[in-house]
């Protein structure tokens, strides 16, 4: 059980766990946590690919690691935008729900948007 296969299994488990959390948990903030879990699981998959690609004197393949670094920063930006939307929605309506009881509820009657 080399560390990379172990990390691969952990990555797969994290993706599964994150999927469950993202689908089931109704509160958007918890969904962001789940999204970050899946993200770290995916980055672990990149990590083991990098580790198994060790060659030419490097203990790792640098390209997937660079992708992971870019991915982490993008994931953070996504969480920041989502949090901003959640907080603004919270200020506006006092409660934060992705699906209100009837998601097909029509936006307010007064014509939509400019």
């Amino acid at each position: 059980m080399t560390p990379s296969t172990l990390a691969g299994l952990v990555g797969a488990a994290l993706v599964g766990l994150g999927l469950y959390g993202l689908i089931v948990n109704p509160q958007p903030l918890r969904k962001i946590l789940a999204f970050n879990l899946i993200g770290s699981g995916v980055f672990l998959v990149f990590g083991i690919v990098a580790r198994k690609g060790a060659a030419a004197g490097f203990p790792f393949d640098p390209v997937p690691q660079a992708m992971v670094i870019t991915g982490i920063v993008v994931a953070f930006a996504a969480s920041a935008l989502a949090v901003a939307l959640i907080l603004r929605l919270h200020e506006e309506t006092g409660q934060v729900l992705l699906d209100d009881e009837n998601p097909a509820s029509l936006p307010s009657e007064q014509g939509a948007g400019k």
Partner: protein, 551 residues
């Protein structure tokens, strides 16, 4: 089909006239959108079909010619059947257009005028189109803007008629598109010209599908029995001039479609018989329902259904026998119907707008015009019956053709009685006063003009021989006798609503709204975030599994 030799004059002038025939109406449409040109466009609008009439007459005299525009993927050609129909259709458009647009008052508005021009372009184009895509373009142009002609006021009845008309039209378009796709698929070299495609049809693997769809889509346009629901509603709701041109020239797009797309040079007994049966059924069905109708315009609509049925039957018999000369003959019969049906609708308009009792000759002229459809000797109708005798052949079809003549005579006399009883009703506002004044000339023209065109398809001497005269006369006599019986026992016939089968179709359509309610509930459930998440993961796994399937 006398020789297809084209005189040098026709070869030179023809293509130019073809293009002008289509360009002029579109120019008028453009003129309507410039404020300055609006008045001039309205007054001269009736001149739009003149180049088309010129092209048709030139083709009749000088032989077929064509025009190619590969850049626009447009190719036009005018052969004898097309020329026959184009000539009379253009004449009808000119006459009714002149009556409607010259002494113009408040009505018709810009919307009616623009729809009129678009439908006119489509009607001309349908006769001259030579490749699949241009034919489909003009076929759509003749059907869809006609909605603007039919729905000209806000009465709920008109809206219903317009809705039904659009539903049938769009369905017909869809069926035709699939038929054209099947035809195009059968053509190995990928050419889209109608002749090449129809030549390949008998041997193409999609022959049956294509033929079924062709008959269904054009059948819907000419109102063959099960698909005729829209015609009575539309013609009753439409103003007189619109009803005249639509029933006269508009419907003939379906006839030219059948003439062009049925492989008449190749004997297909099964399909021919099927079309003949459908045609005769429509012929008698039209009369059976027509006699129960009260409104003269609805009676005329059912007479159109019946006459189109006869034409379809003739084409069916020709398809069964593989008789290549049928197109010109059927085109002539259709041409006669254009003139007579247009004149009949103008008659209804004239009777509504004037006190016909004062003119002694009014009623007999209307009767003569009506009976011309039944083949009354010395009228255009007699020539039409003669022209159809050859494709009908002998045996059962000939007998049925005479029976249909009798039935038509009965229906026309019923029409005349209904016309007499219900005069002075309805909207005189939307009947241009040119119609009652010049009505007699239209009627006489419609009766005697076919005599000028007959030499293009047959010999006048044969038409005047004694036995053809007698052939034409006895069905009218029997029809008259039946009409007397109908006048006495007419009331006992069950009152069938206009548009018969369409009432059932409408109820089915309404019930389909419940189904769409189901769609809405499903959409509401699917748009919960968890449901979206689940379907995303499911689709990912299904796609992965299917990608692995190495079939």
């Amino acid at each position: 089909m006398t020789g297809s030799f084209t005189s040098p004059l026709a070869a030179a002038l023809g293509p130019f006239l073809l293009v002008a025939a289509l360009a002029l109406p579109l120019a008028f449409v453009a003129a309507w959108f410039f404020a300055g040109q609006r008045r001039r466009a309205r007054d001269l609008q009736w001149l739009a079909p003149v180049p088309a009439l010129g092209a048709a007459l030139l083709a009749l005299a000088g032989g077929p010619f064509s025009f190619e525009a590969p850049a626009l993927r447009l190719s036009l050609s005018l052969d004898r059947p097309g020329a026959l129909l184009l000539a009379v259709a253009a004449l009808l458009w000119i006459v009714v257009g002149a009556a409607t647009f010259t002494y113009w008052k408040k009505w018709p508005g810009q919307r009616f005028a623009v729809c009129w021009l678009l439908t006119l372009t489509g009607s001309i184009g349908a006769f001259v189109a030579a490749d699949l895509l241009s034919f489909y373009l003009f076929y759509a142009l003749v059907s869809i803007p006609a909605y603007g002609l039919i729905v000209d006021d806000d009465a709920p009845e008109t809206k219903r008629a317009g809705g039904v008309y659009m539903a049938f039209t769009i369905l017909g378009e869809a069926l035709l598109l699939l038929a054209l796709a099947l035809l195009a698929a059968g053509e190995p070299h990928g050419s889209l010209r109608i002749e090449d495609v129809v030549a390949e049809l008998p041997t193409s693997p999609w022959r049956d599908g294509a033929l079924a769809l062709i008959i269904a889509s054009f059948g819907m346009k000419i109102g063959l029995a099960p698909l005729n629901g829209w015609m009575p509603l539309a013609y009753r709701a439409a103003p007189i001039s619109a009803a005249a041109v639509l029933s006269g020239a508009g419907v003939k797009a379906g006839v030219i479609g059948l003439i062009r797309f049925l492989p008449l040079g190749f004997a297909l007994p099964v399909w021919g018989a099927a079309l003949a049966v459908l045609g005769f059924f429509a012929a008698f069905y039209g009369v059976a329902i027509g006699v129960t109708q009260q409104n003269p315009k609805t009676v005329l609509a059912y007479s159109s259904i019946s006459q189109m049925g006869v034409l379809a039957a003739a084409l069916g018999m020709a398809l069964a026998a593989g008789d290549a000369s049928a197109p010109a003959l059927v085109a002539f019969a259709a041409a006669n119907h254009v003139l007579v049906k247009g004149a009949l609708f103008l008659t209804v308009g004239a009777f509504a707008a004037m006190d016909w009792r004062r003119e002694k000759w009014a009623l007999p002229l209307a009767a003569a015009l009506g009976l011309s459809l039944a083949g009354l000797p010395f009228t255009g109708g007699a020539l039409a019956k003669l022209a159809l005798k050859a494709p009908m052949g002998y045996g059962i079809a000939a007998i049925l053709s005479y029976a249909s003549a009798t039935a038509t005579a009965l229906l026309m006399l019923h029409f005349v009685t209904r016309l007499a009883k219900t005069a002075h009703w309805g909207e005189t506002a939307r009947i241009p006063h040119a119609i009652p004044r010049y009505w007699p000339f239209f009627a006489l023209g419609a009766i005697f003009l076919p005599w000028l065109l007959f030499p293009a398809v047959g010999h006048l001497s044969e038409a005047l021989s004694l036995d053809t005269l007698w052939d034409g006369f006895w069905p009218v006599l029997i029809g008259a006798a039946l009409a007397l019986g109908l006048a006495r026992w007419g009331e006992k016939l069950p009152p069938i609503p206009a548009g018969d089968t369409v009432v059932v179709a409408e109820r089915a359509f309404k019930s389909s709204f419940a189904l769409s309610g189901f769609f809405e509930k499903a959409d509401a459930r699917l748009r919960f975030f968890p449901a979206g998440g689940l379907s995303l993961v499911t689709i990912a796994l299904i796609l992965a599994a299917l990608a692995a399937k190495a079939r």
